[in-house]
């Protein structure tokens, strides 16, 4: 192993990938970078603006800075709420899925069903479902005396978006957890029965530790997706009422395409992107290091 051949020409093999990444990611990204350091007075004339867009964006006392900070906090709360519900719920569902027989297939298909629905369709389903006049959910809630209006009441809007996300994505957590549970050999359960362990103790001492790895993946996937959520709230609430459900993506689209405020939008895109990347990196590093420390 020590006398590995050392030949820098091997780098040529990487060139096709580099070229591909250049066209697929780097060049489109550079146009955004371009906008983020320039300003325009119209007529397609651009001039250098330095870091002014970024300074504004990161200063919460400015208009755009305040708006960005509010959307960021809103989005973090949303991700946290969604994770706190979907993770335990997904594990609970996975534990209830049968392990043998035809019921396995039936249960898995039913659980995976929401995952197969296009996101705009999910939004549309819930938009109609929540309507107070003809929607089953909205009409039913109001008829039993609960005040529910997702177009005017922020609490209703939030509840709708959260429940919709739980409906849409808990299945994925459940499927991951189910795969993890299936990988636990029967001997562990048999040993636990012989040791007289309670159901809770089996969960706490066998299932949960063995699920750790798939749960790291589940947390990562669910966090990223919920932090970048756009389609469903855009269809159901459009970010409203007011700014109540304007998460980062929604707000970004409003600024870029609604107000055609290219400089602010470009700066926001880049910062948003960096936040996502660094949060994922932190997550992953912390989780894998915890794992290693436990091992030794």
């Amino acid at each position: 192993m020590l006398d590995k051949p050392w030949n820098n020409r091997a780098w040529f093999f990487v060139i096709p990938v580099l070229v591909f990444v250049l066209f697929s990611s780097i060049i489109p990204m550079m146009t955004v970078v371009n906008y983020s350091v320039q300003d325009t007075m119209g007529q397609n004339n651009f001039f250098w603006n330095g870091a002014a867009w970024f300074q504004n964006l990161l200063d919460p006392t400015t208009d755009i800075g305040g708006r960005f900070a509010a959307a960021l906090v809103r989005n973090l709360i949303f991700s946290l709420v969604v994770l706190c519900i979907e993770l335990p719920l997904g594990i609970a569902v996975a534990i209830c899925i049968p392990r043998h027989g035809w019921r396995v297939g039936a249960a898995l298909v039913l659980i995976a069903l929401p995952l197969l629905i296009p996101w705009t369709v999910v939004g549309t389903i819930w938009q109609i479902f929540a309507r107070q006049d003809i929607g089953l959910l909205g009409a039913a809630l109001n008829s039993v005396g609960i005040h529910y209006n997702d177009t005017q009441d922020p609490t209703s809007a939030w509840a709708t978006i959260v429940v919709m996300d739980v409906w849409h994505w808990t299945g994925m957590v459940a499927l991951l957890a189910y795969a993890g549970l299936k990988a636990i050999p029967d001997a562990f359960y048999q040993a636990a029965r012989i040791d007289g362990a309670s159901r809770w103790s089996v969960f706490r001492n066998i299932e949960l530790p063995k699920l750790q790895k798939v749960l790291v993946i589940a947390v990562l996937l669910r966090f990223m997706e919920s932090f970048m959520i756009y389609t469903e709230p855009s269809v159901v609430t459009g970010g409203g009422p007011g700014e109540a459900t304007s998460f980062l993506s929604l707000d970004l689209v409003k600024i870029a395409l609604g107000q055609v405020d290219l400089g602010n939008a470009a700066a926001m895109s880049l910062v948003y992107n960096l936040i996502t990347l660094s949060l994922c990196w932190i997550f992953f590093t912390v989780m894998t290091q915890l794992e290693q420390r436990k091992g030794s």
Binding site: P185, Q190, A191, D195, A197, N205, K294
Partner: protein, 364 residues
């Protein structure tokens, strides 16, 4: 501590309805005596693990009753049976330390903390786990983990029986020897009923007071290691136990003699045989080959095992193995076979038949 009775226990796994039931375990009747060590020996898939799981309650038998000290426990769930079981692969609780692992079965049964600590210390001492007691169990080697599993099986002093399901599979050979003698010592120290499943005859014969030999779901013989060696009740037992296994030759019985390919073997007893496929069997350990005399055989090759030599010979086209005494030198193919009288057994349809020994010699 208990005596376990198997009352016509049998088990068939549910198959397609209408099809004839296929028994993974054919009806068996046996009493496991308190304080003794038993081994269930047989090739893979012979039903020994099924039998073990029936005793521990992980499998409910389709037929028969299981009694612990006379009490019917056939349908009692595992956790109420007071049984300890050690599995083939180490089962440890990852998040706990070694000490917590060992204490787990006791803690679940609400034992007092002080007593738990004393018992854990005692078992850890027996299995040489004391130096790692405070360490997290998941970082340890496979054999240390298996020792923890063994420890969890042995930690409860009030169990009816401790069951071992091929517990030394993952242990490397040098440690295997050590752990096996450790288990034997533990058995003597703790005076428990232990049942040990294995497909390794050395493990079974060194560990157990009594060995149950199984094949295809049926019990072929239950006996002490000496019984199995001296008087195998079934030709499979003769073949499976001993290294090399027993020699079997198709024979015709004529009174006190067996005729194989025109050659006569003295049986030392009178046989009146039922109809069936007749064979004679003898162990290589009780047969010797010399240069001349005895029954003429053809030498194939000699195997030098260091401490003893074996001669592979043929008699009328049938292969045999016999001991070659160290003072014998063979030249050429011709040799003579001698079988010690009284160590020749007659098998009809693979089952051993007892002959009638005459009290008075035939020709005085």
């Amino acid at each position: 501590m208990a005596t376990i009775t198997l009352d016509h226990i049998a088990h068939a796994y549910p198959g397609p309805s209408g099809a004839e039931k296929r028994y993974a375990l054919k009806p068996i009747e046996h009493v496991w005596q308190n304080g003794r060590a038993y081994a269930l020996l047989g090739p893979s898939g012979c039903g020994k693990t099924t039998l073990l799981n029936i005793i521990s309650g992980l499998v409910i038998p389709s037929d028969g009753r299981l009694l612990f000290d006379g009490q019917d426990v056939t349908r009692l769930p595992t956790e109420k049976r007071n049984i300890a079981q050690v599995f083939q692969f180490p089962v440890i609780y990852d998040t706990m330390t070694v000490a917590e692992n060992l204490a787990f079965p006791l803690k679940n049964r609400g034992m007092e903390r002080r007593l738990i600590e004393a018992r854990v210390a005692e078992i850890a001492e027996l299995l040489d786990l004391t130096p790692v007691l405070r360490r997290r169990a998941r970082g340890l080697t496979a054999d240390a983990k298996q020792k923890i599993s063994l420890g969890r099986g042995l930690v409860r002093s009030d169990v009816s029986a401790v069951l071992f399901d091929e517990p030394l599979t993952v242990i490397d050979p040098a440690l295997k020897w050590e752990l096996r003698s450790k288990l034997k010592a533990v058995h003597q120290a703790l005076d428990m009923l232990m049942i040990y499943v294995t497909h390794d005859q050395v493990e079974a014969l060194t560990f157990a007071d009594e060995v149950v030999v199984m094949k295809d779901g049926a019990v072929l013989q239950i006996g002490t290691p000496a019984d199995l060696f001296e008087r195998p009740a079934h030709s499979f037992v003769g073949y499976f136990i001993g290294s090399p296994g027993m020699n079997f030759l198709p024979a015709v019985i004529e009174g006190r003699q067996a005729v194989v390919d025109g050659q006569r073997f003295d049986l030392g007893a009178q046989y009146a045989l039922p109809a069936g496929d007749v064979q004679i069997g003898f162990r290589p350990d009780y047969a010797t080959v010399t240069a001349s005399g005895g029954i003429p055989v053809k030498l194939q090759r000699i195997e030098d095992l260091g401490r003893r030599r074996l001669a592979r010979v043929t008699l009328g086209g049938h292969g045999l193995v016999a001991t070659l005494p160290n003072d014998v030198t063979l030249t050429g193919e011709a040799a003579g076979l001698h079988v010690q009288p009284g160590h020749l057994h007659v098998y009809v349809d693979e089952h051993r038949i007892e002959g009638q020994r005459m009290t008075e010699p035939l020709h005085a």
